[in-house]
Symmetry: C2
Subunit: 243 residues, 2 copies
Amino acid sequence: MIHLLVAKVKRVLQGCGAIATNQADVKLLGFTGSPFVCRVQIALKLKEIEYKYVEENLGNKSDQLIKYNPVYKKVPVFVHNDKPISESLVILEYIDEIWKQNPILPNDPYQRAMVRFWSKFIDDKIVAASFKSVFTVDKKEREKNIEESTEALKILENELKDKFFGGEEINFVDIAAVFIAFWIPLIQDIAGLKLFTNEKFPKLYNWSQEILNHPAVKENLPPRDPIFAFLKARYDGLLAASK
Amino acid sequence: MIHLLVAKVKRVLQGCGAIATNQADVKLLGFTGSPFVCRVQIALKLKEIEYKYVEENLGNKSDQLIKYNPVYKKVPVFVHNDKPISESLVILEYIDEIWKQNPILPNDPYQRAMVRFWSKFIDDKIVAASFKSVFTVDKKEREKNIEESTEALKILENELKDKFFGGEEINFVDIAAVFIAFWIPLIQDIAGLKLFTNEKFPKLYNWSQEILNHPAVKENLPPRDPIFAFLKARYDGLLAASK
């Protein structure tokens, strides 16, 4: 009887986020090199949540991935007590609601709205445009995207007031923006572009150095060289196909 | 002294959402015919919040709009105690956090994640694609978008289990999806398309009839005829330009 009671109390406490869950209850389906998976890994590290990481082969998607994310069949999929969630920002909100320690969203409703606005801005205006600045065959289209991502980075540069977007500590926006700190420098090197430099965006560049060295971020970044090689091959293939 | 105390108590209660705020504190910058503005109007009606509505002329944007939404210069902008918020789904989250009556987001964190997922799905997969199914010059591009919006509507059709996405009451997803009930039938009539019909999507079609007749929705829908004429003129202009 007592072990049943203990298990029940444990479940209740886990539900409140009062204690770390059993690793088996928390699972992340990911792909090394995905900026969206990396966001979830950083949040889980900040919250000190143990979890089981499952590397997906995106060339041959697992039945599990298709079952858990039938709509997009993409990573990340976060699975908590066998219930799956996809979309990295949706996952971050969920994690922050379940595990209260080291909050990544502010308490104040207006500040929360601002955090949601800027995270969406990063996804809508920076991620796709900077990616297309490199991985687009059409020159005109590429230049349009370079211009758009430069404009968007300028806006974000003006928005940064402190060490981090979260102030002295990193928050939801910083996690969403890790794409800028790690992935943009990587893809611009592939194409020989200067999208994001210290000269153009000094505040954002300083921020990028701070965030890349933040312990929760640092240990969850993918290894640069294989990601570079993987994306470089894709870039070379694109160039070859366009000839 | 007493009036100061009364004012203070009122402010505290307003902060808790316990009583409706003063109209002057709550403002919505909108444009009649915008599906995104309509979302905010429905949420405010459900919450029984009085507010000042300011119609924007999008051909000649006001200083106020540019000041409150310098990033996108678009409506809706929701202004509460002089603090502006843009992006309709971000505004809905804020409204639900500030005014607790008639919640539009569920309490359970997993259900909240699902609501966020499906609202984002509607914006990412249905709104743009169905609009481009009509308002695109390139025939191939148009057909691609017809296919994509049909696929997305199919997925949503399978997701609908009850009278509303929120069950017996409308919730956040229903509000986001009003675009499907009102705007898709309107734009498909302009182009003589059959994107969303009773035959293709019987559950979603029933839902659309229910939601269009929901009191909070019905009284906030824009008048059909002028919106039709406005968009028809745009469509005709597009056709003429493509010849």
